[in-house]
């Protein structure tokens, strides 16, 4: 079984276990965007965040549009194991349009989503 197929199976299993308004759901996969994770993302990557060295989402981003982008990245993006012993999986997806800015202030078209082993979003940011 390939790693990506394994991820899809595990994520599909998560579909049976989680529900509620903070669930980002797609056809075969879903991840949960908790309030904690949303606050984490907003503090570092929201357009008005003052955090340096971190990509920023474009002005006008909302919780709903963030959840939509996360859904799409998890469903259609490239998955890989998190690095150097960190828990979870990294999904990366190129939206082919600007979704924010890079750490240098240039246009960012890609989204990286880090998801833990319980299918909960840890962080997500444009790059």
């Amino acid at each position: 079984m390939s790693f990506r197929r394994l991820i899809i199976v595990l994520a599909g299993f998560g579909l049976l276990l989680t529900a509620g308004p903070s669930v980002a759901q797609t056809g075969v996969e879903q991840v949960t965007l908790t309030r904690w994770a949303l606050q984490h993302i907003m503090a570092r990557h929201w357009p008005d965040s003052t955090a340096t060295g971190a990509g920023k989402f474009q002005a006008g981003i909302t919780e709903d549009s963030l959840r939509d982008m996360i859904n799409e990245a998890v469903r259609a993006g490239r998955a890989r194991r998190n690095t150097h012993g960190r828990p979870g999986v990294i999904y990366e997806y190129d939206f082919q349009r600007q979704i924010g800015t890079t750490i240098d202030g240039g246009p960012a078209t890609r989204l990286r989503v880090v998801v833990n082993n319980r299918n909960e979003v840890i962080t997500a940011f444009p790059f």
């Binding site: 971190a54 990509g55 012993g85 960190r86 828990p87 750490i103 880090v114 962080t123």
Partner: protein, 148 residues
């Protein structure tokens, strides 16, 4: 090679129950100070999870010492990276956000990372004594894979 950190104040953290995910992404945040030769790869972003950085660097050194020719550290909240490329007994260090390539002996990197981990562990335990009994904290600062 000079490897150091600046640790932010942490409020509202229950250090006795922090998880690996917390330590990898959310707590013990600060800045990285990294000089390799005359190259400065420091990152003063304030949000760098320092326990994660210490554990990841230790993993990288272990892999380099075990035969890997190149390892890349990825920051948690950006696509920025620091690359370590082994060349004989030396390591070439470069970063996506810095210019140039620094060169230093592998043993110097190993000693710098070991010292970094111990200083960070000691400071966290001194500031937050309850974290000293946290098994995840112990694991991330432990001696797994023969690292110390």
């Amino acid at each position: 090679m000079h490897l150091d950190y600046q640790l932010n104040e942490a409020r509202d953290t229950d250090w006795s129950s922090v998880t690996e995910e917390d330590l990898r992404y959310r707590v013990a945040l600060g800045n990285l100070i990294l000089h390799v030769g005359d190259k400065d790869f420091s990152a003063s972003w304030g949000w760098i999870p320092l326990v994660d950085l210490a554990a990841s660097f230790a993993e990288i050194i272990h892999k380099l010492e075990s035969g890997s020719s190149s390892e890349t550290f990825e920051f948690t909240e950006s696509d920025a990276w620091i690359r370590f490329e082994k060349k004989d007994a030396k390591v070439l260090v470069s970063a996506s956000y810095g210019e140039g390539i620094g060169e230093t002996p592998l043993h110097a990197v190993s000693e710098a990372v070991k010292s970094f981990r111990e200083r960070l562990r000691s400071e966290l335990v001194r500031r937050y004594p309850e974290v000293g009994n946290n098994p995840t904290f112990k694991k991330l600062f432990g001696t797994g894979h023969g690292r110390g």
